[in-house]
Amino acid sequence: MIDVDIEQRLNGFELAVAFQAQAPVVGLFGRSGSGKTTLVNAFAGITRPRRGHIVVNGEVLFDSEHGIDLPPEKRRLGYVFQDDLLFPHLTAEANLLYGFHRAPGPARVIDPAHVVDLLGLKLLLRRFPGALSGGERQRVAIGRALLAQPRLLLMDEPLASLDVLRQNEVLRYIEQLRDDLHIPIVYVSHSVAEITRLADTVVLLAEGKSLAVGDVDDVMGRMELRPHTGRHEAGAVVETTVAAHDLGDGLATLRFEGGELIVPNVEALVGERVRVRIRARDVALATEQPHHLSVLNVLKGSVVAVAREDSPIVDVRLQVGSASLVARITRRSCSDLGLAPGAEIYALIKAVSIDRRSVGYA
């Protein structure tokens, strides 16, 4: 449980954030300059808020009213920065164990051997940071933070300095440690794809304020927040279970309550939970069941809301079984089809539109 309510002024920037969140992964989402890093630094005790409190799992880290301000080394929050910031004079192994040796004995529940295994670091241990690739370095940095036995893992854009290939590699490892170690994670990013893939609860930041807190698909799908979540990125997240793999065609069937999706590029095994992000612009609508179509996914649902606005493009919010979807269509199509809340509808999603980055482990 994270309970934050702070006000802070830093170099003319005003931060006033309040939220409570309980989730394995809390996403802090916002554009650059929205105050994400300032907030995380206040968490870690690197900067001091002017007023307020920060409580993590019942442990008061900061409380201006009671004069509590734990120094960074007493907060026991693992901080993973944008850059790996490994100690250049120490081997990967010595880097990993830096915090482990400082952690109080009884708190040492995360085992070095386990972390080495989990993050695939076995062959890197004796090397110096300079001899590691960007992805390897970031993995060592994550392992180092974990072995300090943190109450909470703070990750500030941990993929920002990596290329796309490395991003996927590291993302996979983050998903694994989330499922394996049960340490709550605050994951900071300006990437909708990363947030929706990893987070359960999202805090939307804009201009130093928390605009919304809630379920990822809920907040990211809310239309009035679109100026902050980003227009072209609008979409919805569907939580599914892998039902079958068609190895011949390389397609997987993902099942959720009230529907199925057929999707390529799924690595997860049958029975595993997978979340899929479907961009609003990849969803087409029909009022009758279409036939003789290349589109593999035709889902029956109903219209929940139609965004009213003066632009030629509108977003239509749909309910398909347990899943919420957003379809981005022209205003003309919307009026031609006579879409209104409650109308029965078929959502058409090309399997091809769901790429590797849209699918993550749940």
């Binding site: 690197i46 960074p72 080394e73 004079h89 915090g99 110096f128 001899a131």
Partner: protein, 231 residues
């Protein structure tokens, strides 16, 4: 080499080593403060630390005499309470050398501390390291090349120290007569030229040796980080 010459070299090395050993902790402290802290009066402190670099050495020696001499303000107190005497002792020569080499040492260490990414120290704090531990385990090892350079500069400065030493502790054979002082007095003595030359050659050898040792140490200290550049 005559036993007299060996005595002079031994004394010079003793004075230089003592001056480096005792000024190093203070130099690291002031280098860290000047590189990292921000406080009113920082410019003044910076100026005071650098003063021996710009003052005539004779003035430094005279100031030391006033402060640390037998009747000096600090000297009297030190002699009374701790029995430490600087005046006309080899310890005084070491003190004069330390003061003269101090700005060089602080400067080298300060530059290398300022070059360290401060976020490395921040990470170390979040990993549970106290301020002191972070300094010892991250800052100091990363500043090591600068520390080695500072030690060498100060050591070399000490071997060559003349003006402040002769003003403060005079030139007493066997007690305060270091290499440069001995060379000077030989040059002043009729027929002492050849001996002065011998000592001068020894001074050159000592300086070159110190330089080589420091090069070797610096390379060792940078070993891990050179690794860093070899991607």
């Amino acid at each position: 080499m005559s036993s007299e010459e060996i005595g002079i070299i031994g004394l010079s090395l003793k004075v230089a080593l003592a001056s480096v050993a005792f000024s190093l902790p203070a130099a690291i402290f002031f280098a860290y403060v000047l590189a990292r802290a921000d406080f009113p009066g920082k410019t003044l402190l910076d100026a005071v630390v650098h003063l021996p670099l710009v003052l005539p050495p004779v003035v430094v020696g005279f100031s030391l005499l006033l402060l640390f001499g037998k009747h000096g303000f600090i000297g009297r107190w030190l002699a009374e309470w701790f029995g430490i005497v600087f005046a006309f002792r080899w310890t005084g020569a070491a003190l004069a050398s330390a003061v003269m080499g101090f700005p060089l040492m602080v400067r080298a260490i300060r530059l290398s501390i300022a070059a360290i990414d401060q976020r490395l120290e921040t990470v170390a704090r979040t990993l549970g390291g106290s301020r002191t531990w972070v300094f010892l385990s991250v800052t100091l090892p990363l500043a090591l090349p600068g520390v080695v350079t500072g030690v060498l500069l100060s050591f070399a400065r000490s071997l060559g120290e003349f003006g402040a030493t002769i003003t403060f502790v005079s030139s007493i054979p066997g007690e305060t007569e270091t290499l440069p002082l001995a060379i000077y007095s030989l040059v002043q003595t009729p027929g002492g030229d050849s001996q002065a030359l011998r000592l001068s050659v020894i001074a050159v050898i000592l300086s070159v040796a110190a330089l080589m040792v420091s090069e070797w140490l610096t390379r060792r200290a940078r070993g891990a980080m050179q690794h860093h550049d070899r991607r």
